[in-house]
């Protein structure tokens, strides 16, 4: 299943992209920010049909092309990369369930009792030939009974109860129904089946219809009894009694024949799909999905995508044919994934060619698959340009059309075609559907970043509007002048300004641009947060940009305000106390092993050389330089030794950057501190070395 794992040492993580993030989300899923996604990790879906996409996302995009849904109230623009759940809730938002949580789903038969009860009561109340006392009795019984689904023997009790005071034939029908229902929830399927079967000619129409439906459900549940192993996992079709499944299939078929628009028709169709799955009848299962894909069903496209993904797709290739171009395309894309040596055989051109007939009605989809295979598997981007003609200039594109052109763009980049940038710009115009435009902006931004046009990305009127794209660039590659501009750009969201300013002030300080640091403090807006976490600049709700101007946390080593240390260093760059105090600021305020210590890969957005081109201060190097300086004041030198040892505490791993030293050196510093400054508070405090 999907498992995006928290990164351990790295704190560079990306969380939700489409919904506003809550403060301090602890879960991170970090896609590399690029349109070329060769592996599946659950967080890197894009509007481009491809191997990196979740199969459900690919399915949903293709289904949307066939039957466009109105993109919801949430986010028509979307983001360049997203999780399945984001696009799912974007197109099909769930209602707000409040404190009680999402209602029990029909994964077990016990979940369906609430709805059934309401319908039952309504039917009883409107029944002919049932006295008022009988109605009261019939309604009281289920209210006393909450099926735990684990208690046995309820049936006997219910039987006694129901027969008291139930005399009229009409009331007895309801009583028999109740017996069946209790048996069903009890797990006594054989008895329940008898009760329901006895109602096949019931006079009351609600009882007759419901019993016919419940009879089939009973068989289905009876079939499932042996379907799960001792761990609760599905044991497969071979573990099931196929004659019972067959009875369930006939039962649902009979129901749908008699009540094609009946109250339980949608449920019956859904359960028929489960029957096909249980019986291993993939041909029928695929056919029913095709019918749903054709738009005749009530399932949302998202639910359908999930169900197909869960139930049908894993079975292809084991003697099961997809037969349907959409499902086959999704499988083919999955087989283009780069598994990095896990042994999965990736799809070949020859195999794709053998599928041509299935795509007879969808030649553009087929061509896209050929092109994608050339790009992702065979590594022949030039073939993409031969297979897919340029059609970037459109007013509106389906996801397939968009994918075809976007793949062209990626191929142009791969062959270093000088027209790539112009191509992306043309593609912007027709990128109207959700998630399309941000994807193009990502492609264009990467091109410009590598093409000496970083400043143009941030110029007025720039086509690059996606704030994630801009923030990644600001954080990783923007130089001081660009950051200064971006820090005050009122036309951009506040958070983007915060990212710019935070990055600017940190890098100024860390890279020793002290005059610039002092001056840029003036860009701090009034009311800026002075505290807060910044594991992921893009995700923190309120970046503590005010931290620098306010001075940050204080430690035990006496330091002035960090701006004073910086001011001193502009005039006297070797000043020991000031250097130690800048190091203190970085240490106390969370800059060890911070997000700034990592950079995107070279083939990702923000992966080029930073235009903030100095080298970051290493606390360890500062301490080393003070330690070797025998003329340094005693208090400073002792503290430097103390801190140098602590760089490796408590894990034995250096958290101060710079060039590491071996444990013998740490021990030597420890001894030196004790020996040379025995009365200093630092020597007294230092009890270990690591």
């Amino acid at each position: 299943m999907l498992r995006c794992l928290a990164s351990l040492l790295l704190v560079f993580g990306i969380v939700l992209l489409a919904q506003p993030a809550e403060a301090s989300s602890d879960f991170s899923c970090g896609p590399g920010y690029t349109l070329v996604q060769r592996e599946y990790n659950g967080c890197n879906n894009s509007a481009i049909l491809g191997p990196g996409n979740d199969t459900r996302a690919n399915l949903l995009l293709l289904m949307h092309d066939a039957h466009p849904q109105s993109a919801s109230r949430y986010d028509k623009r979307g983001t360049a990369l997203f999780e399945w759940r984001s696009i799912r809730s974007n197109f099909f938002p769930d209602p707000d369930y409040g404190e009680s949580g999402y209602p029990y789903r029909e994964n077990s038969r016990c979940g369906s009792n609430d709805d059934g009860k309401a319908a039952y009561e309504s039917a009883v109340n409107s029944a002919q030939g049932v006295s008022a006392e009988e109605k009261a009795t019939l309604i009281a019984i289920p209210n006393k009974y909450e099926p735990e689904c684990a208690e046995f023997g309820m049936r006997e009790v219910a039987y006694k109860i129901t027969m008291d005071g139930i005399n009229s034939p009409a009331a007895r029908e309801f009583a028999a129904y109740l017996r069946g229902a209790f048996g069903f929830y009890d797990g006594d399927f054989v008895a329940a089946a008898k009760d329901f079967a006895s109602l096949s000619n019931a006079k009351n129409s609600w009882v007759r219809e419901t019993a016919l439906y419940m009879a089939a459900r009973t068989e289905l549940n009876r079939a499932q009894e042996t379907a799960f192993d001792e761990y609760g996992s599905f044991a497969g079709a071979k573990a099931i009694d196929q004659s019972i499944v067959g009875a369930a299939e006939s039962g649902f078929g009979a129901y749908l024949k008699t009540y094609p628009q009946g109250s339980y028709a949608a449920s019956a169709r859904g359960l028929l799909r489960r029957v096909y799955w249980l019986s291993g009848n993939m041909a029928k299962l695929a056919a029913s999905y095709r019918a749903q894909l054709g738009g005749t069903g009530k399932l949302t496209q998202a639910d359908l995508a999930e169900e197909i993904d869960l139930k049908l797709l894993p079975l292809f290739g084991n003697g099961v044919e997809a037969g349907d171009p959409v499902m086959l395309a999704v499988m083919d894309l999955m087989r283009m994934r780069d598994f990095g040596g896990y042994g999965e055989k990736r799809i070949t051109r020859a195999e794709l060619e053998s599928q041509r007939a299935i795509f007879a009605k969808q030649p553009e989809l087929f061509d896209y698959l050929l092109a994608a295979q050339s790009f992702y598997v065979d590594g022949r981007p030039a073939d993409v340009l031969k297979i897919i003609p340029d059609a970037a200039r459109q007013s509106r594109m389906s996801y397939l059309q968009f994918s075809r052109q976007a793949l062209r763009g990626l191929a142009l980049e791969a062959v270093k075609d000088s027209n790539a940038r112009g191509f992306w710009q043309q593609l912007l115009g027709g990128s109207a559907l959700p998630y399309q435009r941000p994807a193009v902006e990502l492609g264009l931004a990467m091109n410009m970043e590598r093409g000496n046009a970083l400043d143009a990305i941030f110029a007025t009127g720039s086509a690059i509007e996606d704030t994630d794209v801009r923030q990644i660039l600001l954080q990783n590659v923007a130089g001081p002048e660009l950051l200064r501009k971006a820090a005050v750009d009122k036309s951009r969201p506040a958070h983007e300004r915060e990212v710019a300013l935070f990055t600017l002030l940190f890098k100024r300080l860390s890279q020793g641009q002290y005059a610039g640091f002092v001056e840029d403090l003036n860009l701090t807006p009034a009311g800026a947060a002075t505290e807060g976490w910044f594991y992921d600049l893009r995700e923190s709700e309120k970046l503590p940009v005010g931290m620098f101007k306010a001075g940050g946390k204080k430690g035990e080593f006496a330091c002035p305000h960090v701006k004073d240390s910086a001011a001193t260093l502009t005039k006297a760059p070797a000043d020991i106390r000031s250097r130690l105090c800048v190091a203190e600021f970085l240490r106390l305020n969370g800059f060890d092993n911070s997000v700034f210590d990592t950079a995107p890969e070279a083939d990702e957005l923000g992966g080029t050389k930073s235009r903030f081109s100095g080298s970051a201060m290493s606390r360890l190097e500062v301490y080393k330089s003070v330690i070797v300086n025998t003329k340094a004041p005693a208090g400073d030198r002792a503290y430097a030794m103390y801190r140098a040892v602590w760089c490796y505490g408590p894990s034995g791993i250096n958290s101060c950057g710079g060039k590491g030293v071996d444990i013998a050196q740490r021990k030597a510093w420890y001894n030196q501190l004790k020996r040379e400054y025995p009365n200093s508070e630092w020597a007294k405090k230092l009890r270990y070395f690591w």
Binding site: M1, L16, D26, G98, E99, G101, A227, Y231, G232, S651
Partner: protein
């Protein structure tokens, strides 16, 4: 450097989607992945195990994976109901394990959340959590103590995906700082060389192996 062979161990995680392996028959403890509460859908309990287990011998833990600490209390009620059902069906249910990747700096906040769970959980079920290697090295002592007060065990995970985390040995050295019983989680097929001092930590309680589906070789 050798690879983890599940047959050498007797405690396992069985995750949703992982097919049961014969080695489970020798299990003394099984951590069964039951459901998830996801960040983007915090109102929904995503049940991933279609049926409850029916096992006589091993101790079973019901594992709930969560991606957020903010979800309706009713969802925890359902999990507890399921725990009781499992036990009523004859399983030896040891308790509930929460699988959550808590940031090392937020251990106190996580401990407060777990204290709430502990109060809700019936007394005869234990509370276990998975843990990150990083906690023992960089977790602040107060946060670790807060955690220790509410949980019965932590299983420290040495892997991500199918791979053992690089440099695990350095972190495991620090596990002596944990004041709560702990186990070490390994991944089937991952690289592993047992650090010599591990068995000497008084709180060490053994290993748990995360089973993975065999890779398809074609």
């Amino acid at each position: 450097m050798s690879k983890v062979d599940a047959a050498d161990y007797d405690s396992f995680w069985l995750w949703a989607g992982v097919r049961p392996q014969p080695v489970l028959k020798q299990a003394r403890t099984i951590y069964l992945h039951y459901a998830e509460i996801r960040q983007i859908d915090p109102d929904r309990l995503e049940v991933l195990r279609p049926q409850m287990p029916r096992l006589q011998r091993p101790d079973i833990w019901l594992v709930l994976r969560i991606e957020t600490l903010r979800f309706p209390g009713a969802l925890m009620d359902r999990v507890i109901t399921e725990l009781v059902h499992w036990r009523d069906a004859g399983n030896k249910v040891a308790g509930l394990q929460i699988d959550f990747d808590a940031r090392t700096r937020f251990l106190s906040k996580y401990a407060a959340f777990l204290a709430k769970i502990r109060r809700q959980l019936p007394k005869d079920f234990k509370l276990s959590i998975t843990g990150l290697l990083d906690w023992s090295a960089n977790g602040d002592p107060a946060g670790l103590d807060d955690l220790s007060a509410v949980i019965d065990e932590v299983v420290v995970q040495t892997y991500q995906g199918r791979k053992t985390i690089f440099g695990y040995a350095g972190y495991l050295k620090q596990l002596g700082r944990l004041r709560v019983p702990f186990k070490v989680g390994l991944v089937q097929g991952g690289e592993w060389s047992e650090p010599p001092e591990l068995q000497s930590f008084p709180q060490f309680r053994g290993f748990v192996v995360f089973l993975v589906n065999p890779e398809r070789a074609d």
